[in-house]
């Protein structure tokens, strides 16, 4: 196989797929990037058997791709990505000889890299007549950013390290929880499949993979096609395909966690509440649970924190509206700050049911984005 291409174009492709290259593995071929050349295009693939990214580059004037001889090869990602990034010239030529030796030329530099037979590279999952949904890239990014942080990092309960994707009638809902806080966000979606069966389906995607997906999503209205089988999911955005394995298991019923009613509601500007809690957290930052207290008193909201060794802080926050009983509740400041950042700017509603009950943070206008947080009990 032999081709020529502009250096920024191939550097981009390699950078995109390299996120799926296996780091710790016993199979050397998984630490490589598969390059496949057809008469019209160059395809790069990385796949660690959990996460796979494939990018197809069609020859055009911008990328200057010139295909001289078709073929395929697997090149070691650790070296290939850095070599490509640091090449001196504007064009790169890659030439593979019979013994899987790649010659990479650019400017006056010439590299020789040992490759692996492409036949050893594992096949990506096949999506035949899979159920599909389309979402604008920006919206999908927002859905992930509003929820992914709440997924668990601990492998004790594998399903909780995932993000639940649920497809309801013309809508998609993402939910993540680690048992201490829960984030859920719903958005309308278009049915792009032939059959309407995708409604009321759900899938648990690994949180880590979804965060990698976030890195390659463009920040625009470009449509992303989501496809699901029973074991894998595929996200297609432009010429990039992102494959991930699903987490096997049953996601706990999180709907019953969300309190159906509330005894106290406070509406407050998100930035004011966020900044006050952020300041109060300074006193609590060395304590394990980052405990900050919130007191609803008459028409005021008081954020406070104290530590026997460090000192204490108290700050009054102006509220837009308050209804219900007064109360004092304590919580982990880190969880509340992350939840507030996941909500849209503007007025947020804090809905409480007493000092020992989980409380809800949501946008004052809509319940599309809901953040549930468990309290720290004041004993």
């Amino acid at each position: 196989m032999r081709f020529q291409i502009r250096q920024p174009a191939i550097a981009d492709v390699v950078q995109t797929v390299s996120k799926a290259v296996a780091v710790r593995t016993t199979k050397p071929v998984l630490t490589g990037i598969l390059l496949e050349l057809t008469p019209q295009s160059l395809t790069a693939t990385a796949y660690d058997l959990e996460l796979g990214i494939q990018h197809v580059l069609n020859a055009d004037d911008e990328n200057g791709l010139e295909i001289l001889e078709v073929g395929s090869i697997v090149l070691p990602a650790r070296y290939f990505t850095d070599v490509i990034r640091k090449l001196p010239g504007d064009t790169v030529s890659v030439d593979i000889q019979n013994n899987y030796m790649a010659t990479i030329r650019s400017g006056s530099a010439e590299f020789h890299l040992h490759g692996i037979d492409a036949a050893e590279f594992p096949q990506l999952p096949v999506f035949r007549q899979a159920h599909s949904v389309q979402l604008p890239s920006r919206l999908l990014g927002e859905l992930i950013r509003s929820t992914a942080f709440a997924a668990s990092n601990l492998p004790v309960r594998p399903v909780l390290t995932g993000i639940l994707f649920e497809f309801e009638a013309a809508a998609v809902r993402l939910t993540a929880t680690d048992g201490l806080r829960l984030a859920t966000r719903v958005a309308s979606a278009e049915d792009a499949s032939e059959t309407p069966e995708w409604t009321s389906r759900s899938a648990i995607l690994p949180g880590k993979s979804v965060l990698e997906l976030l890195k390659i999503l463009p920040d625009g209205e470009q449509l992303v096609t989501l496809q699901f089988t029973d074991t894998h999911s595929l996200f297609q955005v432009g010429d990039t395909s992102f494959y991930t394995r699903l987490i096997d298991g049953v996601y706990p019923d999180t709907k019953r966690l969300i309190p159906p009613s509330y005894r106290t509601e406070v509406r407050v500007q998100r930035e004011l509440l966020h900044d006050a809690i952020d300041r109060a957290a300074l006193i609590a930052r060395d304590r394990e649970n980052h405990m900050v207290r919130l007191e609803v008193r008459a028409e005021d909201l008081v954020v406070s924190s104290s530590s026997p060794e460090v000192g204490n802080v108290s700050e009054q926050v102006g509220v837009e509206h308050k209804s219900g009983d007064d109360l004092l509740i304590a919580f982990n400041a880190r969880y509340v700050l992350e939840a507030l950042r996941a909500l849209p700017a503007g007025v947020v509603a804090v809905r409480l049911n007493g000092p020992n009950q989980p409380f809800v943070l949501t946008s004052a206008e809509t319940d599309d984005n809901l953040q549930l947080i468990s309290p720290v009990l004041i004993r």
Binding site: V156, R157, L160, T177, G179, L180, R181, L182, P252, R256, L257, N289, N332, N356, Q357, P358, L372, S374, P375, V376, L377
Partner: protein
């Protein structure tokens, strides 16, 4: 004492401290397991003696009260992680079960 032997002695000490550290970690894990097992056995014992006294099924109120007590003592009562030690904070799943 020459420098070489001093260094060797310090290196040996370092190794022993490292081993002690690992041993301490294992011991801590053992304590957690024992605490969990002890709690489970206490519960089982209590349940058995109660059902023996009552001569039938204990009513739901008592069962719920017991679960609440176990939770307050620092153990999960939710189906997700029943019986394991709660180390992080209040569990949403357990709270929703208690409040049902």
């Amino acid at each position: 004492m020459d420098k070489q032997s001093l260094f060797v002695q310090v290196a040996n000490l370092e190794e022993r401290i490292g081993e002690l550290y690992v041993e301490l970690g294992a011991l801590k894990q053992k304590i957690v397991e024992l605490l969990e097992e002890n709690q489970r056995l206490l519960r089982e014992n209590e349940f058995l003696s109660e059902s023996l006294k009552a001569g039938g099924n204990p009513d739901i109120g008592v069962g719920m009260g017991n679960l609440k007590r176990i939770y307050d003592e620092g153990f999960h009562i939710c189906s997700m992680r029943y019986g394991s030690l709660r180390t992080e904070g209040e569990c949403l799943f357990c709270l929703s079960f208690i409040n049902r």
